[in-house]
Symmetry: C2
Subunit: 356 residues, 2 copies
């Protein structure tokens, strides 16, 4: 198919924009002007605060075109940003997209990318309302900025966790990390399809984040993009606390254990450092935590307590299955460091300093 499709350089920018606008569809839902003027014109909801986040994905750093389809990448580009809005307790609203495209990219690739983006957007009522196109002399780059809204009284920040709070994780951990291992082997079997999918097209916890926020039971929340260890460090740093995670409580599905063990890797590593799970990590008082776990279970979302918030001077530690306690390093990925081989990897947000 790619061989028959014209290339981006063949049809020129204007026609490409026309094709994109046709796939993106009308902006709808609070967008008075989408693609079609100097800026998008949006109608924020009265009395709500605005949320803004962005995530850039670079070919060769965050994805490989041989591994992820354009449609999957479109879904993923939106999903990883949706997860950030979810972790603030917000409602996603509008996406703005910059695409930096190699001139020899098939036009069909761009169309498929937008199809994925629209599919994901339709699920969460998030239209693409504007953006920017450029030629790339190197890798394909996708940068998506997502705007959302939240009631001032419902915002859940990273800061706010107190010693004695319990730490809850939604869903399961390590699926995406295991999926990446499978992809690196380049021999995914049928059973491993779920893992690969978890890695390529994560399911952002938008409804869950909203449920947690409206319950007002959470003291702090963060999404798990870089791995539980890394993101726990961020939450603790922002809250000025320490934490203790219990390995036996981590929601490690059998498929993750098996994939790791087959490769001589400790499954715990995938749960703690694998990243890309896009689950939510929540701190809540013990009473609130039980209510939260029940509330989520009632909504069909598994969630469990995985540890406890501790005073800052105790640091961040892990209780191993045998009872030994050791400091838990943030580890996680650093895009400027050595791991050049990773076809996916959380575009790490800057949001590591303390808030205003």
């Amino acid at each position: 198919m790619e061989g028959q499709s014209p290339r981006v350089r063949d049809i020129g920018e204007f026609k490409l924009i026309d094709r994109i606008a046709r796939i993106a569809g009308p902006p709808g839902r609070g967008a008075l002007i989408g693609i079609g003027d100097d800026t998008a014109l949006l109608e924020p909801s009265e009395g709500r605060l605005l949320l803004a986040t962005c995530d850039v994905q670079v070919e060769g750093v965050h994805f490989l075109r041989e591994v992820i389809s354009p449609r999957q990448l479109g879904r993923r580009a939106l999903a990883i940003n949706l997860s950030d809005i979810a972790s603030m307790g917000g409602i996603p609203r509008w996406a703005i997209l910059s695409l930096v495209l190699p001139p020899d990219l098939p036009v069909s690739w761009v169309e498929e990318f937008y199809t994925g983006l629209r599919e994901e957007g339709e699920q969460f009522e998030v239209p693409v309302v504007g953006g920017n196109l450029s030629r790339s002399p190197g890798p394909l780059v996708v940068d998506l900025t997502l705007l959302g809204e939240v009631e001032p009284e419902l915002v859940v920040e990273r800061r706010g966790a107190s010693p004695g709070d319990l730490l809850i994780v939604t869903g399961e951990l390590g699926l995406a990390g295991a999926g990446l291992l499978v992809l690196q082997d380049r021999r995914p079997s049928g059973d491993e399809g779920e893992l690969v999918q978890a890695f390529l097209t994560p399911r952002p916890r938008v409804q869950e984040g909203r449920l947690i926020a409206t319950s007002r039971l959470a003291r702090a929340m963060i999404d798990l993009s870089d791995g539980l260890a890394s993101d726990l460090h961020r939450l603790c740093q922002a809250s000025g606390v320490g934490a203790r995670i219990e390995a036996v409580r981590l929601p490690l599905p059998e498929a993750v254990r098996q994939t790791a063990q087959e490769r001589g890797i400790d499954p715990l590593e995938l749960a703690l450092f694998g990243g890309e799970d896009y689950e939510l990590l929540v701190a809540a008082s013990p009473e609130a935590a039980s209510s939260l776990v029940r509330l989520l279970a009632d909504a069909g979302v598994p969630a469990r307590v995985v540890g406890e918030v501790r005073p800052q001077n105790e640091g961040i530690s892990l209780v191993f299955p045998d009872g030994t306690v050791r400091p838990l390093p943030p580890a996680g990925w650093d895009h400027f460091a050595a791991r050049e081989d990773i076809p996916g990897g959380g575009g790490r947000r800057w949001q590591t300093g303390s808030s205003a």
Copy 2:
């Protein structure tokens, strides 16, 4: 200096973020959370609509590191987005930035870039409230998303021009295009510094756009990023009209004439197709146009009538100095086409379709 500065890969992402956050400073002005959580948390003004736009700049396509300093690029990245907010009549508020950095980039480059961004931001009270960092296996990429606000009754769209309206341009045309010619020669003389500066660090017409919007005298407005011809075509397409520009009325400064003539180029070409001037093109009824020109002159901004809006079936034409009338093509730049040699060039917005 670059030789002594550590490289981006040497200090790792966390430290780089810390350095950036220190330069960026507190988010201030309506930003409850800036760099430091999963998303920025912003407080929109009551009763205003939201404006959102982005512009990506790619090394080797929009800039060359040998030609533009990091500080200039920081200013420019914000300025070209400010111009889009200006052309809607809006007030710029918050910037979100994605940086895709080659690992061997000196840390001092990133710091200087942020210094430029902060300098430009301080002029317009626009803080950087969030963003994203990634490693680049290829060119340096800067993608800035800018949010702004505007009262619903003051928005000036591209559509709205009517036959009989006059077309006004602020400032002068061709300076940036001439600056690019000078840079391509790699022999800027003292006198040409102003041209080069116009190209590298354009001055967005934020106050002017706001003045035009609050006057309520304009029917349509667009900023001149890709050249008068190209952007006039967009305004006319959105408004469903034609236009006639008079060459003798174009504000072509002497320095532009001289630079063009020295190189055997028609100065008109720079005014019409040069791009990057970031002036405003406004359509207004004849009475309103006189008032607007006076209003702008009183504010110290030269503005002049350069032509007239015509019925759509007359097309878009140019009256040459000798009185001949010819169709005016949009020309402008297309990033996927041949002009690989251009170190700067308007990251063309998608906003070419009709509005919702």
